[in-house]
Subunit: 601 residues, 2 copies
């Protein structure tokens, strides 16, 4: 008690060995016994009174992720644990600490301010003070750091678009901190030594003025703000970590793939042990600066012919995208989802346009420019939607504009044909999003199959491909027996499925009322981070049962964000899914969680 | 054949009786036999050749709705049919013809143009040329007639807000005609004698100029356009129609209620035989011109106190609303749904505000006005949502602002207490919208129960009430066993349930891609008009089974638009629902369809 009360200072354990070798021998004996009994590292309290050893308390020791891995591997090597037991000793969620980018320790850093280390990882980008600007620059492919006194739910879209967040106010549970951790983005918060001047779009440190557009770096694990870009190191796995993951792979039956939209991400995913790509989003490819104007031409085309002309220019670019990804994943399956988001996401904002037109009119602007912008505004308005999430997107685009999906399918198959010719083994899986009825799939499957046959005929090359569907709308799950008849695979899009099953728009829920739901304990977890097993999960179960009733061996995976969350992975294992797919950096977490799920059952 | 070819003109049947009484006797004998055999009115082709009667063909006769009713009632009275058989002779959907408002035949009409009779019914209103303007005026409670050359999907919100639609181009299957018929609104289309001048906001008839804001009337059954307002007659039911409906009520087990938001609608519903109100939407009450400013104060309040002050002013108004409706439905249940739509629907449009601010700035507008509008824009932006349908609405408002639901519950109960004191028998059913989890219902039920107890204590009056929930989000249906524990009743909101199960925003689907789905036969019907039995229906079945597993006698109804559609009513009967609820004018259709569903089973 004196120790706990701080009255006496304990001595290092080595002092015991030196001063009381006999007691030390007794003590190590007891410790070994305890570790063998509890099969885990123990945190043992003891005292020595009048030459006699008293064991006061023992409990499983707390540890960092890195230590947990080392202890588990050591205990296996010492024969204390079986592999399966060692695997259960590491909490998959904690691995997150080891899987973020960090600043090269050899780098010279110009640290200009210090705040709270609110969310691990490091990143560099242009300083931006406004969420809308961050979103806009993000869409243009720029790296930005969002800098705010505090963030509010209205800034969510800016945080999504930014590489990191810096705030001058608020603690470890402030809005910015909680949101950034949820998204896995670096965040430094409560950085009180900086002063933000929104009016002039700049912030002040003790002796510097940093303007919008200047480059800074933040280290969310250290809480530091650094001037300029700095060299970063991608996370590498320690030998013990690698070993543990090899064991996990031996044990698990659930496959692990990654979500990746670029050859770089695909390569990173391979490095982390992903056995394929479970989701390639093709819309990000359309947002690139050199393509957006052509995409806009396609969208604003006044007829099929004009649209086809724009598509013809996009075709070689898309082919290049798919070539790179399929090559990086040589021999492994790559699920390529055809265009999914509503088209107006590619167009300018109506409000901005309306304001600009008003300004031009009142300041005697160029008549022709005004009428061109008015025409654009008219089209933007015609394409705008009340609820874009439930609007003209996904396979509905493919139904109304089959030529768009046709172009994408052709690009996939041309890339595959070229790779086969070069001696590679591409395994493309073409995925149709937002299906609600087997007839959509039937219609679009034919479009895809025709493209494949054309490319085979044109190139004289045979390649393998499959066509499957996302299950992300309740109706597809409820009618999965019918849908399966036209699908080579199912992939659960649990982000969208959560949105429709709960009637929660993620942006609006996280921005407006979800916190209330968690505070009032109406929901135990954010359903976009931890799968809602009772609601969403029960529909998934229905879909698996119905789908495999029609096709017993149907390949089924999950590619929503939940695919990287341990409790959700355990649930997916229980459902009998074939694979989970998650962001490349979460692949090791998923490999371990999948192994644990198999062991626990 | 000569007759069919038009070479000979047939003679009236009376001529046969006069000229060949014997043949006539034979003929009526055969006809009676045929009618008895087919148990329906027959359309008999015959000829007389050389004094001999030849029956050429017989088939069931085509008829108008009014004739169908008369034939069915006559055949019962003549002993040819049992009541059940007579009820099956009338197509419920056809009754629509008899259930619309029409122009008083005694009125002097100044018909200024004629077009196609595209959708039955008549209405008067201000001429408006723009869907946005129509929507705005509609929200202010104005009656408007939308006048366009043609309508497009972009005009949908204007058609929703208008009392009728007039177009100068397009036929009976043009967009305006199809949409108006779907919504049960009068429409005159293809009115080629008018010329619309959008630039000057007016249209020309042969000799008149009619400006925006002028009042016109249209008769969608006659295709006429009339200058000024004209006296209208509400539909009345013929004695045979009344009799048929009495039989229907004797046969059917499924209850029929109406959706009504005003005492007038409630009275109309009673007149048409509704046994209660299945849905009173309280948001329409908030849109009235005298209330909107107070509602906006409530929404924009900077804290609970300020909000409570606005709510205190709304309380007596809401009490008056509920008093009127409960009184009109004396002795019958009235389901009152607490506030449902997203709050920003009550606020001005962000784009309009942004444009106005730009204009004020560039034209040296009043500084104070600019900053007031900027503050308003900031709040409007903060409340705006990406997908309002899936956003901060329904019981989510009650969770974050319990005082809003508290005020509404108090208003219901104060009205009930006053009616009890006056000797009436109010039966309020308080309904919580958009529930996804039993815990929401538990939390809000307590709020409502507290209000009831307070009112009983304050007034010393006891009254009856129940608290139940909408089932309109998939999760509520999937977890209906849990939800039922806190619910006195379920009511299926099949409009929202269709939106979430199919992932279809109604406005966007009908405006953008649904037509393609129908054309390509991916869907057989518009799922917002005819219930999607396979998808939405299967979830309803689950909810009924689970709900009644927890509470065997649970009262369950449907209040979506499907509650007035015959095939959907038949489906609801099969599910074992207690009632359907539909618009007052469709109550007779529902009564007949419910009876037929009972007979067919």
């Amino acid at each position: 008690e004196d120790v706990v009360a701080g009255i006496r200072t304990p001595q290092p354990i080595a002092a015991l060995q030196r001063d009381m070798p006999e007691i030390y021998g007794q003590f190590t004996g007891v410790c070994n016994l305890l570790e063998q009994h509890y099969r885990d590292m123990q945190d043992v309290e003891f005292t020595v009174e009048r030459g006699k050893l008293w064991i006061l308390q023992t409990r499983t020791g707390k540890r960092t992720a890195q230590a947990a891995i080392k202890i588990a591997v050591d205990m296996y090597n010492e024969g204390l644990l079986a592999k399966e037991e060692a695997l259960l000793k590491v909490e998959p969620g904690h691995l997150d600490q080891l899987l973020h980018r960090r600043i090269d320790p050899a780098a010279e850093l110009n640290v200009v301010a210090k705040g709270l280390p609110a969310s691990p990882g490091a990143s560099s980008g242009m300083v931006v003070f406004d969420a809308d600007v961050a979103e806009k620059l993000g869409q243009e492919g720029k790296s930005v750091i969002l800098v705010r006194t505090e963030t509010t739910p209205d800034d969510i879209h800016g945080i999504v678009a930014a590489q990191g967040v810096l705030t001058s106010r608020g603690g470890m549970t402030s809005h910015a901190a909680v949101v950034a951790r949820g998204m896995g983005k670096p965040c430094v918060c409560g950085c009180e030594s900086i002063r933000i001047d929104y009016e002039h779009n700049q912030f002040y440190t003790e002796d510097l003025v940093i303007k919008q557009g200047d480059i800074i770096s933040i280290d969310g694990a250290a809480g530091s703000v650094i001037l300029g870009a700095v060299p970063m190191l991608d996370p590498v796995l320690s030998p013990e970590f690698q070993e543990l993951l090899v064991w996990a792979d031996q044990v698990r039956t659930l496959g692990v793939r990654a979500n990746a939209d670029t050859p770089d991400d695909a390569a990173k995913a391979r490095e982390f042990g992903a056995a394929g790509i479970g989701l390639t989003r093709t819309e990000h490819m359309f947002m690139a600066q050199d393509r957006l104007p052509i995409v806009q031409e396609m969208i604003l085309a006044s007829g099929r012919e004009e649209r086809q002309a724009a598509l013809n220019r996009l075709l070689p670019m898309q082919q290049g995208d798919f070539y790179g990804i399929l090559k990086a994943m040589d021999g492994f399956p790559v699920t390529i989802r055809l265009l999914d988001p509503p088209l107006h996401e590619f167009l300018p904002n109506a409000e901005d346009l309306a304001v600009e037109i008003t300004r031009l009119r009142l300041t005697g602007g160029d008549k022709e420019e005004i009428s061109r912008k008015e025409e654009l505004l008219r089209k933007v308005r015609a394409l705008s939607e009340f609820n874009p999430m439930l609007g003209h997107r996904g396979c509905r685009l493919g139904i109304t504009f089959p030529e768009v999906y046709g172009m994408q399918a052709r690009a996939v198959f041309q890339a595959a044909a070229r790779l086969v010719e070069e001696g590679f083994n591409p395994v493309p899986e073409v995925e149709i999003p937002l299906v609600i009825d087997v007839k959509e799939l039937e219609f679009l499957r034919e479009e895809v199959t025709n493209a494949a046959e054309e490319v085979m005929k044109d190139t004289g090359v045979k390649f393998h491909y499959t066509v499957g569907t996302m299950i992300e709308v309740p109706r597809a799950a409820l009618l999965a027996d019918e849908v399966a008849a036209q699908a080579d695979f199912f992939s659960f899009g649990t982000n969208d499925l959560t949105q429709t099953v709960l009637g929660f728009s993620r942006d609006d829920a996280e921005g407006k009322f979800l916190q209330d739901y968690l505070d009032k304990k109406i929901l135990a977890d954010n359903p976009f981070m931890v799968l809602d097993q009772k609601g969403v999960g029960s529909l998934m179960k229905t879909a698996v049962e119905l789908g495999r009733k029609t096709k017993p061996g149907l390949l089924i995976g999950i590619c929503g964000e939940h695919g990287g969350e341990p409790s959700s992975i355990e649930f997916c294992h229980g459902l009998g899914l074939d694979f989970v797919s998650c962001s490349p950096f979460r692949v090791p977490i998923a490999r371990l969680a999948a192994a644990q799920a198999g062991i626990k059952v």
